[in-house]
Amino acid sequence: MSFTWIEKLEAEKKTETDYRKSGSRWEVVVKPEQVEAAARAAWDAGYFIEDISVVDLQEGFLVVYHFDHWQSPGRVTFKVLVPHEKPEVPTISHIHSGANWHERESFDFFGVVFTGHPDLKPLLLPDDLGFHPLLKKPEERASLDAIANVPEKPQEKPQEASGQAP
């Protein structure tokens, strides 16, 4: 399983994570403007979009993209942190069509706007609900370090082949 496509990506931070504990092989933190290039690289490398979810944290909204592969499975996670006041991320629905609905759902629940999305209307909620239900109150939000501390792949173990049972 070669992850050279990740090494070529422009990103803020790349971590090879412990697959047994976190379920993901790589975690790549990107800036909003790098999301589209990352999604295109994932598509060219043969990945499909698994899901897009949002976590409401003190520092902002953490938009988490999960990608996986048919032939060489091993989840890859992309994370984007956007501030609460301006929660905008470029859409990837023109590359991965499945992201269309995932982004609509994220907008429904959190109010994260995906710029360039063809049709960002409510998906799961009534169109007249008037609020985003999964937002947390400011005092309930946790900090990024507390939550998303995905354990790094331990260095002393040799490089494992893919398909290892978790």
Binding site: P126, F131, P133
Partner: protein
């Protein structure tokens, strides 16, 4: 009916009296109606599968005359609300109830239709806690999901409500009706 849910207009619940309103003809027609109730296929969630199971060979609602599930409300007289009614669906439920011709009855199948079921929690924003907030309910069948025998007992209770007596043996009383 329970106090209405804010934001959803409850159904118009009055049913006009029949054209020929004689006691004897009413009693006779009530027995005919009770023995051939036509349910509306209104399975919303998990309870719908138990409703399907009741129509199948093992539990066989056809023994009691009610196997003709109609997809159109204009041809049905029993609306079995099987599942959770969400706020988005509530206007459609009201409209379907109003489209059914009288005499019509409603069975609330499962805890969600009775009172919101396992989906009531503080701060819930999406469901109607009990379908009787929007349409008048005649029989409540509790369970999550209720066994198909429960649905059948609910049907018998409805027949008792329509005709005034229970027609089938009670499970605890042997074969005596």
């Amino acid at each position: 009916m329970a106090p209405p849910d804010q934001g959803v207009v409850p159904a118009v619940a009055e049913q006009d009296p029949p054209l020929i309103n004689l006691e004897l003809s009413n009693k006779f027609l009530d027995v005919c109606r009770a023995m051939s109730i036509w349910p509306l296929t209104f399975g919303l969630a998990c309870c719908a599968i138990e409703m399907m199971a009741v129509g199948m060979a093992r539990f066989d609602i056809s023994r009691f005359g009610a196997e003709v599930f109609r997809p159109s409300p204009r041809q049905a007289d029993l609306m079995i609300v099987a599942g959770t009614v969400s706020r988005k669906l509530a206007p459609a439920v009201v409209r379907l109830y109003e489209q059914m011709p009288a005499p019509k009855w409603v069975m609330a199948l499962g805890n969600c239709a009775i009172s919101g079921g396992p989906f009531c929690f503080e701060g819930q924003y999406g469901i109607i806690e009990g379908v009787d907030k929007i349409i008048p309910v005649d029989v409540y069948v509790p369970g999550c999901p209720p066994r198909p025998e429960g649905l059948l007992e609910g049907l018998f209770k409805l027949q008792e409500k329509i005709t005034g007596r229970r027609w089938w043996p009670h499970p605890d009383k042997g074969l005596k009706v």
